[in-house]
Structure formats: C-alpha cells, structure tokens
C-alpha cells in the first residue's frame, strides 16, 4: 500500500470525490491557483477548472453561506477555511443556518456540505494560527465534527464527509500535515463518521484522544510498554456524534481513563467524554477519570518557550498515564 502524508490524503480524497461526482466543488481563499496555503488543494484547479475550484473573496461568512445555499440547491460544496481560527466570522452561517436547516424545515431542506479547516498548534503559528476550535461546535446538534489523526482515516473520513447528507466540520491537525505519514490504499474506501477506533490494545490504562495528541499517546504507550505498563488507546476520530459505545467499552477495558486533547481543558470535548463515562460506566472505574489538556489560556503564544509550555508531548502524556497506572 502506498505510504503518504496526512495532507496528501486530503488532496487525494478531494480529487477522487470530484472525479466521482460532478456536484462536488471546492471553494475558499487561495484554494485555486495557489493550491491552498498548505497545498491541500494542489493540482485541483488544473484538473477541474476554476469553476469547481473557486477562489473566493476574503470572506468566511460568505464562504459558509454560499455553501449553505449551493448545498440546498443540490451541490456538494467543500469549503476551506484557511485556518480554523478564522471560522469565527462564519459561525452564524454554520450554527444558525447549516446546522438547523434540516430540522427547521421539517426535513424538506438539508445541507450536504463540508467545511475543512486546519487546526492545532506546534507550528509557530501563535494565537491565531494554532487554535483548537472544536468545542465551540461539538455542542451544536445538527453538525458533525470530524478530527482524523492518520492519513488512512483522513482519506476515508473526508470521503464520508463529502457523501454525508448533513453539514460536516472536518478539522485537520496542521502539525500532522507533513509529520504524520501512513499507508493509504489507492482504492476508494470510506471510514464511517461516528465511529471511534482502538488504535492500540492494552490492559492497564485507557487513553482516549484524537488528532495530534493521539500520536503522543501512542508514543507514550510504546515507551511505557518497556516499563511494563500496558496502554489501551482509543482514537475518537469523530467528536460529534461521539461513539458512546466505543468510549464505554474502552473505559471498561482497564477501569482507568485518561482523556487527552490539545484544546484547552475547560469546556473541551474531554468533559463530555468524562461525563458519559461517569454516568454509564461508573461501576467499571477503578480510579478517578483524568483529563490532560491544553491550558486554560486564550490561545497558544508564539515565543518558543511559551509554545512548548502550552503544547502537550509524549512525555507529559506518559507521566499522566504512569500516575494513573500507579493509582
């Protein structure tokens, strides 16, 4: 199987879906001639023309709102928000419109649209090119929120998102873009939205994570194996809807749960995951549910020592697992 980077899996999924279905088109800032500031849409304008790879004016609300209208019409827009931080001007269109279209019209209208956005830090991006914004959307019924961690999942989940009949926010961790490589079949396949995956089996401590920190958890698990601690790692993959069954199963597996995310602790998805476990797998627990997350500060600072302090890493995750294991 070919090995490719996380971002190449994005591009491949886009290309294959555009080939498969004429209604699929891409719109966003610099997605055309420039091929995206991260090059995620590289080569698409050459293949599909500027009508289907649309450079829009610098207006996020319009990008999202036009996608709402076009998707109601029957198109399959894939909108790119250049950085997740810049999704804020589009919140009204996403939350008030896309998320509520099906419900408010009693199923007459719906928005099969995707909003792709690179998120996360560790790239010297400072406050506004490093944010994790998922928690603002995982409280919004009507949306789906997807955060893949591997190239395989990127391709399979992005295809599912494009084929989904409802609006999907597809958050790509920008640090993973070129850092994470993996096997990706050339064939057409999908990964279902709403399904978590056990990325590593273990017996002592369960780590539940997604995105870049999922890789930190895997690294930590490798290290801890040498120390005799067996770590079970669940990749949430989809944050809305959460895969409750998989969460409860993973929690019950070891009775000790550590939830890890880069997004700041308070109000993060970890709270919801913890609450699900505390309500439904309470008697399976052998220790308090622990969360390890980004600090509760407005966003990630630029200066290297501050960025480093903000970011999680395999050591910080390993330490938290060790503590739980010893509990």
């Amino acid at each position: 199987m070919p090995v490719m980077s996380y971002i190449d899996a994005v591009t491949q999924a886009l290309r294959e879906e555009m080939q498969r279905d004429e209604k699929v088109f891409v719109l966003g800032e610099d997605v055309g001639v420039r091929g995206g500031v991260f090059r995620a849409t590289n080569g698409l304008i050459e293949e599909f023309g500027e009508q289907r790879v649309l450079d829009t004016p610098l207006t996020e609300s319009a990008i999202a709102g036009v996608a709402v209208g076009a998707s109601c019409y029957g198109m399959r827009p894939v909108a790119e928000i250049q950085f997740a931080d810049f999704i804020m001007p589009a919140v009204n269109q996403i939350v008030s419109e896309a998320a509520k279209m099906r419900y408010r019209s009693n199923n007459a209208w719906h928005c099969p649209m995707v909003v792709r956005a690179p998120y996360g830090g560790g790239v010297h991006g400072a406050l506004y090119h490093s944010q994790s914004v998922e928690a603002m959307f995982t409280c919004v019924p009507g949306l789906k929120v997807v955060t893949p961690s591997t190239p395989y999942d990127v391709k399979g989940l992005l295809k599912s998102a494009i084929r989904d009949e409802d609006p999907v926010l597809f958050f790509e961790h920008k640090r993973c873009y070129r850092l994470i490589k993996g096997e990706v079949p050339n064939e057409d396949y999908t990964v279902p939205i709403g399904k978590a995956e056990v990325k590593r089996e273990g017996t002592d401590v369960t780590v539940i994570s997604y995105g870049l920190t999922l890789h930190f958890a895997l690294k930590a698990a490798e290290q801890l194996e040498k120390e005799g601690i067996s770590v079970h790692v669940l990749d949430l993959r989809t944050l809305l809807p959460l895969d409750k069954e998989a969460i409860l199963e993973a929690a019950s597996k070891t009775g000790k749960v550590l939830i890890v995310h880069e997004d700041n602790l308070t109000g993060g998805v970890g709270g919801e995951v913890s609450a699900i476990i505390a309500q439904e797998a309470f008697f399976e627990l052998d220790a308090p549910i622990r969360r390890l997350a980004g600090p509760d500060v407005p966003a990630m600072p630029y200066s290297p020592p501050l960025e480093k302090e903000f970011m999680l890493n395999p050591e910080k995750v390993a330490n938290a697992i060790r503590e739980l294991a010893e509990f």
């Binding site: 004016p57 709102g65 209208g69 076009a70 109601c72 019209s105 009693n106 007459a108």
Partner: protein, 330 residues
C-alpha cells in the same frame, strides 16, 4: 389613446387583476392573523402590511416554475404568488403538523417550501442573502437560466452578510436579485439611524452593479425593476440591487407597541399611500376592477381565509415525538 401602464409593461388585464387578488389575499390573511392573535388563538404574528405591492410585483416578474426564493418574514405576498396558499399560512400560524414550511417548528413568517424552491429561512436576519448567492452560483455552474431572489428589510441590509454577498455575487457575476424592502423602520429604529447616507440602492455602485430605487407602493414599478434585473441576470450580466420603499403600516410584530417610537399621524399619512388603496384605484380608473368584480374577488378571498382558518384551527398538532426527528438524515 395610449396604452395603459400595465399594457405598456406587457401585462394583461387578467394579470393585473390577479396581482391585486394576491395583494388582497396577503392583506386579509395578515389581518386575520392579528385578530386571531388578539383573541389569544395564535401566539405571534409578523406582518406584510404595507409591503404587498413589493412582494407581489416582484414575484410576478419571476419565473414561478424555475426561479428560487430566499425571502424574509414579511414576504407573504411573494410566497403566495409562488404557490403557497392561505391554508398553508394558517397551518403555520397555528403551528400545526401540516404546516409546509416547518411542520409547526418555526414561527409564522419563516417561509420554506421545496415545492416552490423557497429555501427555508431562519430568524437571524440577512443570512438568506448568502443562500441566494449560493443558489445563483449553482445556476452558473450548472448553466441553468434561473435566478435567485432574496429580500430583507433596510435595517437588515446593514449586516455584514449583505456586503459579503453582494461582493461575492459581483465578483462572480451571479444571477441574483437582492431586493431590500425599505419600510422605514427596523422595529423602533428609523431608517435615518440605520442606513448611513440614507440610500441602500446607492450601495450598489460600490460593487459595480446597478442599484435601483423604486416606489414600493406601486406593484407595476416593482414588477418592471425586477423584470429588468431578471433579464440582466439570465444574460449573465450579474446581480442587481433593488430598494423598494414603502411603509410598515402596523407594529413590528404582535409583541411590539409602535406608539413608543412613532406618531399616529405618520402612520395615517402612510395609509393614504397604501398600495392596496392606490392599486385598487388604478384598476378602477382603468375600468378593469368593476364593482362587481371587486365584490367577487373580495368574497372569494374572504372565503379562502375563512376556510383556511377553520381548517388550520382544527388540524392536529405535531406529535411530541417530532421534537426528536430530522436532526440528521434518517
């Protein structure tokens, strides 16, 4: 003798009578809703009163078989012309299961109807602007010859989405008609405190597109402006901004009390220019609306509203379980 104004526009006597009938129907439905509200039978009304000429004039200029609408909460006249009925309105006002807009989920005035290509609207104002641009973009991509018309109030035209939408449509030369229904107030805020410079139409120039001011009390003038805009749009000449000015004859909604912020005299003055009064006079003067004809139309419209009210009042509510359906595709 020269042609009458409507003939000059290529409209037959039947068509202008039909226009009048729709305007009257909209008015009567609206008035009935206020009565029902004051009688405690429906919790909320938001009115088209004073804007019927704009809505009906515009809708008549469109192709009801293929054009798309992204209207706003006052556009009762428009959605009636496109195919919704008095019964549909009453089902919505009573929030009954059969309401075609939302199955009783949304407040009245939140139009949406797949049958007639009316995209479901929300309450946050001006968002539909961008939906119309999206539909117009799709039309261009798919090489279709339909247009999308969107409308909202002059207050709403100050939202960021207005600017982003006109600019997007202008850059990509999209077949969209943006119609601002200037009724002089945004709830209590008069247009002078709302629209810097005083003219919404003047903003069109900044996007390199035509900006047309039109008397919103005259359905024929609105018809003409929208028809011209539609012709441009389908020829690939891009968007048009139309500002149709009239007056909001009643309070903002059944929750409002307009005595706090405007004089009775001002409202009475406006009532004299009411499009229903003026257009009726035009039709009478043209000899089209005879006394007999008028009675016939009036009776028919009243009966339609009566029947609709009765039907809707007796229609069943949605099942409480409906609360949980249609969050996602099922």
């Amino acid at each position: 003798m020269g042609k009458s104004r409507h003939e000059a526009l290529g409209l037959t006597d039947e068509q202008v009578l039909d226009m009048y009938r729709y305007m009257l129907l909209a008015r009567k439905i609206d008035e009935r809703m206020w009565l029902l509200n004051r009688a405690g039978k429906i919790p909320f009304v938001i009115s088209c009163q004073g804007q019927e000429a704009i809505q009906v004039g515009a809708a008549f200029a469109l192709d009801k078989e293929k054009d798309w609408l992204c209207p706003y909460y006052r556009d009762l006249g428009m959605v009636l012309v496109f195919g919704q009925t008095a019964r549909d309105q009453m089902l919505s006002a009573f929030a009954k299961a059969e309401d075609p807009n939302s199955g009783g989920r949304q407040m009245p005035g939140h139009y949406g109807d797949r049958r007639f290509r009316i995209i479901s609207g929300s309450s946050p104002v001006t968002t539909q602007m961008l939906h119309a641009v999206g539909v117009a973009l799709a039309a261009k991509m798919e090489k279709k010859d339909h247009v999308a018309l969107t409308s909202f109030g002059e207050g709403s035209s100050n939202q960021g989405d207005f600017h982003e939408g006109l600019n997007f449509a202008g850059v990509h030369n999209l077949p969209v008609i943006v119609m601002v229904e200037n009724n002089k107030y945004a709830i209590s805020v008069p247009v002078e405190k709302q629209v810097a410079g005083g003219s919404v139409a003047a903003r069109a120039q900044g996007y390199g597109i035509p900006g047309v001011e039109v008397d919103g009390n005259d359905p024929l003038k609105v018809f003409e402006a929208v028809r011209t805009a539609r012709e441009r749009a389908v020829k690939g000449e891009g968007p048009t901004l139309i500002e149709a000015t009239s007056y909001r004859l009643v309070p903002h909604s059944s929750d409002d009390d307009d005595r706090a912020y405007r004089q009775k005299e001002e409202v009475e003055e406006a009532r004299k220019k009411d499009s229903l009064v003026q257009f009726k006079k035009y039709l009478q003067d043209s000899g089209i609306l005879t006394e007999e004809k008028e009675k016939e139309i009036n009776d028919a419209v009243t009966k339609e509203v009566d029947d609709a009210t009765e039907y809707a009042e007796q229609a069943p509510y949605p099942d409480p379980k409906e609360t949980y359906t249609h969050v996602y595709a099922e």
